[in-house]
Symmetry: C2
Subunit: 469 residues, 2 copies
């Protein structure tokens, strides 16, 4: 970076620090919108969050800001043209929808009334990912406010269905390739390893999410009058689910591991540098002991190995006390997390074949699918990742670690598939932020450092590209 560049960045950082109160107020406003995409009753709130975001883009002087309708929640788009011909364009991705808040009684504050306690801001979506979106907008605002102007072109793409599997995103991308044209995608939906250890994520797991309903009798029966002579669908469901893993924790669906890419010795060595966090995983999960495939490290199990999870169970009587029913139906929410090169559509077939083979004809069943997103695996030596790595080192004083994330962000796979755009996956969420759980929070000092790092990133990206040319 030349002297001029350094001065420009310095002023942008000053502008960023000078606007902290406004940034925080703006984030709180965003967090007050209960944009839960899972429930139809929140449809209006989801739309309100989209409109709110569009107004933020207009405030940044973005052009052609609009809400693009889909079969579900709209996609918010807009763009800032490249400052000079040949400057790179960054596609900024985010999702403005949030997870449901249940179980509500476990929250210590109202999920949609953001509350600061110590260094943390508590609210649903604070960390996943309204806070992350606002970190990017903070940085872009500061670049302008600092007087140096925008060093790169920016495209915005904010969806409202990420928490329900990005159902309409692939269709949207197929219809609007013009809105995806970019050199790189910045996706801040991943997180840090700790407040002092930034990270860049180069792999995300795919997701295929199902609801399985096993049906027995036509209606709930008296367990005394029929128990022992009618197959209990709750028992049948448990017996089926019990077969889905072997004793070592491996998933038993035939063919499930066939396309899984083996880890190279080099990658395993790199990932092994991260295992200091085993203890942290124990702590934040609140378990006494970890679990899983014995031949893989904990971080490999989470990031590089596919899994099958029971996300929910419901059958029969679940109120207080006792009711002696033999239930008519038993339901399980079952999801699989996939790694390169597994395909969600094949996993559905494997699951169906497994159920057909294992469920006896004393019960019937139906399988509904709610999400199908492929896994992502990105090159770690792209200009975007080099720029981000340097920016993070500047702010935290240490190089980011490269890692695989266990989470699923279908957009990454879609962008590779439909627009040939690789993603830089990062973000400033911490492992103890309670994402998808009660008392979700955002660590404000880390969030502010994150905004600074993004100021450096946008500059470094422009400078890096200029050097290469």
């Amino acid at each position: 970076m030349g002297d001029h560049g350094e001065a420009v960045v310095k002023k942008a950082i000053e502008a960023l620090r000078g606007a902290e109160n406004e940034q925080l107020e703006r984030l709180r406003e965003f967090l007050r919108i209960p944009s839960v995409s899972t429930y139809a009753e929140h449809r209006g709130d989801v739309e309100a969050a989209a409109s709110w975001l569009a107004r933020q883009l207009e405030a940044l002087n973005a052009e052609e800001v609009r809400l693009v309708p889909t079969g579900g929640a709209p996609v918010v788009v807009g763009h800032l043209p490249p400052p000079v011909p040949g400057a790179p364009t960054v596609l900024v991705y985010g999702h403005y929808d949030v997870q449901p808040v249940e179980p509500l009684k476990e929250w210590r504050s109202e999920p949609f009334a953001p509350e600061i306690k110590g260094e943390n801001l508590y609210a649903r979506g604070a960390s996943d990912m309204k806070g992350q979106i606002m970190a990017v907008l903070n940085a872009l605002e500061a670049l302008t406010a600092g007087g140096g102007g925008m060093p790169v072109g920016v495209r915005f793409l904010f969806e409202g269905e990420e928490e329900i599997g990005s159902r309409h995103l692939a269709d949207f991308m197929k219809k609007h390739p013009d809105l995806l044209a970019a050199d790189i995608c910045l996706n801040p939906d991943a997180g840090m390893l700790g407040p002092e250890q930034p990270a860049i994520t180069y792999a995300l797991r795919g997701l295929a999410y199902f609801e399985l309903r096993v049906r027995g009798p036509a209606h709930d029966l008296h367990s005394g009058a029929y128990g022992g002579a009618v197959h209990n669908p709750a028992q049948a469901l448990c017996e089926l689910i019990a077969c889905m893993h072997d004793e070592s924790g491996r998933v038993t669906l035939p063919g499930f591991y066939e396309r899984v890419r083996a880890l190279s010795a080099e990658e395993r060595r790199d990932l092994a540098r991260l295992t200091e966090s085993d203890r942290k995983i124990l702590e934040t999960a609140g378990v006494r002991k970890l679990w899983g495939e014995p031949d893989y490290s904990v971080l490999e199990r989470i990031g590089a190995r596919p899994t099958l999870e029971v996300n929910g169970l419901l059958s029969g009587f679940t109120g207080e006390g006792s009711k002696t029913v033999l239930p008519a139906v038993a339901m399980a929410k079952i999801s699989t997390r996939l790694v390169a090169d597994q395909r969600p559509e094949e996993v559905r077939e494997q699951l169906e074949a497994f159920i057909r083979e294992h469920l006896p004809d004393t019960v019937s069943w139906e399988l509904e699918q709610f999400a199908a997103g492929p896994p992502v695996l990105c090159p770690t030596d792209s200009p975007g990742i080099r720029a981000l790595s340097g920016a993070m080192e500047t702010v935290w004083g240490r190089r980011p670690l490269f890692r695989r994330s266990g989470g699923s962000v279908p957009v990454g796979a879609y962008l590779q598939q439909f627009a040939g755009v690789d993603s830089v996956l990062t973000g400033f969420a911490l492992p103890d932020d309670n994402m998808h759980a009660p008392n979700e929070k955002l660590h404000l000092p880390t969030w502010r450092k994150g905004s600074e790092a993004l100021v450096y990133f946008f500059h470094a990206l422009a400078a890096g590209q200029a050097e290469e040319k």
Copy 2:
């Protein structure tokens, strides 16, 4: 029965038939009280049902009618003294509480707004067992109204916690032996085999009902961030439940069958006479195929074999759509039906030992018990059963069949244990009455015949005892 006896019974039957409208109106009044013992919010309704019953006993000129407090719902008592010294005393047992109504949306009429359609009266508790209690009171009223007076002494014992395992009944009996003094107990909480086939039940299964909670992480986790490295308690619960039966449907708790009395060849032959109802069981259950221990007939599986059922399952996210949680806790309601000579307290120990052996230390667990009632097996040649058998033959024109019931009525075991009183188990519920399910109903013609049979029964019991003396 002498001529005088015949005339007396004839007048009582006439009085019974003449009061049909009042009987029906009274039953509807009883059914309008939502006395669901399972839920604390219905506590007032349960008390109201007790008071309502006490008023009915007073109308019969019963003496010392009162509500005896227990740790839970009160026991309604009262008595009609023997008409002559040495006349037998019948203890009439009933429960005035009812099952919960969920799932409410499957009811075609309001559960507590009794509605007649065709020959049936629809309401929660119509068949189990407010209708049965009222059949006895109808008969007793007619005996007085007919002018012949009461042929036997009667004690009433109506509890309000049968549907939640008769929690306080054993304590009540230990405290009040004077209220149990009787020659025989008439318990009409069992049922018929069909509208034309009366039955007398000589065995009831015991019940031990549990809630098992398996705990994993301290709170719900993001299944992407932790899946594969933290043991999922829903999966652990399913794996545990799956071990509780072997492939033939036998319960695998060690020692579970140790005390089970084997069926004699004679009893198996008698029970085999009842197997015509296999098809009916299929129909009323609404299943394509029956299930269970292959070495036993369907009626043996239900009546003479112990079972273990999953009555409810709850874990994680169970709303519409998807939420990618790794649940903190998974709950199962599990109950065992027991046969002579199993002991509920031993079964609890067997279950606990089983859980300890099979659940890994990646999760923790707790077991709560809601009911513990021993099984009942009564002699089939007592004066009471002879009297009832004759009464039924008079009304239906065919001898009742003797059978074992799969249901559980702890009172029978307690009466044997604490007062040495055997029970006559009968009743006028039909197999398709939807007991414990939506759209519970009572078949009115059968109910009226039942009241008549009880008129004959009380007389025959007095006459039989007189003959023996």
